[in-house]
Amino acid sequence: MNKLLIQGGATLQGEIRISGAKNAVLPIMAATLLAQGPAIVENVPHLQDVTTTVELLGTMGVQVVIDETMSIEVDNSTITSQVAPYDLVKTMRSSILVLGPLLARYGKAEVSLPGGCAIGSRPVDIHIKGLQAMGADIEVVNGYIKARCDRLQGARFVMDMVTVTGTENLMMAASLAKGKTILENAAREPEVVDLANFLNAMGAKITGAGTDTITIEGVDGLQGTRYRVVPDRIETGTFLVAGAITGGRVKLKNTDPTLLDSVLDKLRDSGAEIQIGEDWISLDMHGQRPRAINVRTAPYPAFPTDMQAQFTALNTVAQGTGTIVETVFENRFMHVQEIRRMGADIEVEGNTAIVRGVDKLTAAPVMATDLRASASLILAGLVAKGETEVQRIYHIDRGYELIEEKLAYLGAKIRRVPG
């Protein structure tokens, strides 16, 4: 099992390119199941979850090929099975995203229920109820969601909680349903908008993506297309925090500043000078220590839960005291215990972490518990005195493409070693 070794103290400076968004590419790859004809997806990050999705499609008999630019071409004309087996679903909860497309296109689907999750419950009930509202016959037996239908029928469906994958699954299914579907209380995340853009490029008729009401006029068929996925806003935010926490100056290219308003506002509050262009963002701390900031996570366009752990790390070395309130997921302060081992002063009360900035963190062996927690430990390691060892970094490989190469390019002293 690999680990990362980080020698703290380097001030990050330089430019890097941001990868395509994992949270956009996974639903888009699932949506290729809807197409009649090959679909080509560009700007695909090389991540474990992408590989797992390729494997999932492959087990169904779908042809997936990758070229040297990491574009993925998916041709579902050879599909032989509509089953997402437990062995794959248990490693990647977003496998549930094939449920809607399989059902809408082939009239049947069997998808294993995902298992437990380290960062709280993420119910699949909404996916099931929404598809049932569209006329699907669904039962849960032997750990599998087994769904059948003739043709899905358009419906009005109010989601009782905001869910990104639920919105995406139902939007994909409704694209081939007969008639109009209206999804109320829909997720507004940019990745939902990107999926809608992809579906529309294939011939779907979707309006309202990016608002809480999405309307889908079902069509009889969708055609393959070529599509470039949106840049990864969470990777962008993470590297901006890396620049801020080290008092550095970084420029991130191939990104989209319009997706990060709430994060950029918080970074400005911390003392960063932010400049933006059409597809780039620069951050300059002018060598200053960040100021503590208060953060409250909420669904987009508010501050993203996937940036909470990174800002917790930023506050650990900031001037003053900042509070972090997590309202999206339960049990998402697992990184706190590890960062405390590096000398951070953090107190957790319910869904709130109170972080009192300290002058210095000190290196320690720490263990990653989930994807974004891993990122926060690396960020803490960048400013800790001594060599920090981050274990269980397979979490980080699920969401960050070439993270140590990119950080090293910015001047961090970081290396991956076996063991």
Binding site: H46, Q63, V64, V65, I66, D67, E68, M70, E73, D75
Partner: protein, 95 residues
């Protein structure tokens, strides 16, 4: 088929485009009667991961048959994909 395999002076020469359509037919060609096959990839004009799948499939068959297989002149496009997916060290490539 948009790829071909020819045998000259003890070496198989692979040329054309390696994609999902062409590699299935190539996989089924007999490259084993000449003993330990050597395959020159210099004239592969284009390829995606289907090409890597073919090279790994031939490697697996060679191991099952207990013979050695060698690849020469791996195109950079295939090298990029092999490195990205961590299989570059498994492919028996010689210049």
């Amino acid at each position: 088929m948009n790829a071909s395999l020819t045998f000259e002076q003890g070496i198989y020469h692979l040329s054309g485009v390696l994609d999902f359509q062409s590699v299935v037919a190539l996989r089924d060609q007999d490259i084993w009667s000449a003993g330990e096959p050597q395959i020159d990839l210099a004239n592969v004009s284009n390829s995606n991961s289907a090409g890597i799948a073919l090279l790994l499939e031939w490697l697996k068959l060679a191991q099952q048959k207990g013979v050695q297989i060698k690849y020469h002149n791996l195109p950079e496009s295939l090298g990029v994909i092999a490195r990205a997916y961590g299989v570059d060290q498994e492919l028996p490539v010689t210049p």
